[in-house]
Symmetry: none
Subunit: 234 residues, 2 copies
DNA sequence: GTCCATTTTTACGCTTTTTTTACACCTTTT
DNA sequence: AAAAGGTGTAAAAAAAGCGTAAAAATGGAC
């Protein structure tokens, strides 16, 4: 087949069986997707937060974390489409996975053509609802596509961590983003608890660069005990 | 099961077999969906344009129009989610249907539970922004999604414990929530008994912040010996 | 190797929140 | 009428959380 339809779309494969991983990797690469891999659930969650894939293929038969837990951990902060792959054919398992946030459930043995077709379907949904990549709040503009932040029309220089943090906040504008979610998205799943220290420091950096009066923030406000909120104001 | 989750969401069934139609109709109605039916492809296309359903369940084994044509006709003007239902298990058929715009492909025989779960998945994609988990009582509004509490349009500041307690009460609005339930939900399973002390203190805090006359509560009322009740009043 | 920007570590003052402690009140029971 | 159990305030002490500054470590570019 060797299509080029995938056009570099990032897909993360989480599967403990090297054979299946290889099969998937080769096939998906042949369709033009950029494939990342994880052999354990733990690594899967980490990779998901690192590479921000457009889609995840998740095998439920993992050794360390139950596949369902991986799904739940990812769903805590991301809406990325997840296609569950499994040998289990029991209806309860299907229902549980789908209700936990899976977008599709494919039972082994499966045809690669079908899987790729279902991947296309899942990706169709996200492309459909792809928002405009420029977030504005007051005199601030964040261009996710170009990775550019402008304040009063002037380009603001942000370090990678600062940008990741701002992006994590701004892409959930109006809602509270918990400290755990932020830590996971910016620093990866290892620091998902207890290290809220980093957060305070970098929130401070962002405020110093973006707020008019950093001591009285109007853009990134603190929700004590919970997290932070990025406010959109006209 | 007889859930009421569907909440009147319109689903169109296109199937030529009256038995399967009936099975689907009864099951989906029991889940709270508003079901419309069509026995032929021609009628299906017509009904789709008439009722503008939120989702279509389409059987490919139709007599007049090939099911695929129905799908294509619908896709000409609508992006409504379509779940294809069929006895054909050939991979090419699946791929063809999915690429023609179907959102899922379920092979007979199938479990109704799975089908309903897949319907929920398909609806999740479209209903994303339609949800409104805002609880109102008098001049109070609790927005669970944004974690915002407003009284007379003004934002009320609540500590994490206060908010958790209010959420536990309000999400069972009208019903009594026992002290044990509250302790367990807010403080965790350790304090599930005996520590009803905390409860009284924080109920007091909430009343002071939310009630007009905290000494004569109209929002959070005490059910002596049992627990507390969050009242909804227009 | 040195230099630079960035990240991580370390330290501390301050505020908010939670927990503890104490006591007054009311209703029901003895 | 006194005792008992459940309830509501008010204040403390203790704990946890937040924000800033600055030093140390990391890692890449040259």
């Amino acid at each position: 087949m060797t299509n080029e339809n995938g056009a570099g779309t990032r897909i993360l494969i989480v599967d403990d069986e090297p054979q299946i991983r290889k099969l998937l990797r080769v096939t998906l690469a042949a369709h033009g997707y950029a494939v990342h891999e994880a052999g354990t659930g733990e690594e899967g969650v980490l990779q998901a937060s690192m590479h921000a894939p457009e889609l995840i293929v998740l095998d439920l038969g993992l050794p360390d974390l139950a596949g369902m837990q991986v799904l739940e951990r990812i769903r805590e902060w991301s809406g990325v489409p997840v296609i569950v792959l499994t040998a289990k054919d029991r209806e309860e398992d299907k229902i549980a996975a789908l209700d936990a946030g899976a977008d599709d459930y494919v039972t082994k043995p499966f045809g690669m053509g079908e899987l790729v077709a279902r991947i296309r379907v899942a990706l169709r949904h996200t492309v459909k609802s792809a928002e405009e990549p420029v977030i504005r709040s007051g005199n601030l503009a964040i261009d996710l596509a170009q990775r550019i932040v402008e304040l009063n029309g002037e380009r603001i220089k942000l370090t990678p961590t600062e940008y990741d943090l701002l992006k994590a906040l701004a892409s959930h504008a109006g809602k509270v983003v918990t400290q755990r979610q932020l830590l996971q998205q910016v620093w990866g799943s290892r620091h998902d608890e207890g290290d809220s220290h980093y957060l305070r420091i970098y929130i401070g950096h962002l405020r110093k660069k973006l707020e008019e009066d950093p001591s009285q923030p109007e853009l990134i406000v603190t929700e004590p005990g919970v997290g932070y909120r990025f406010l959109i104001r006209e």
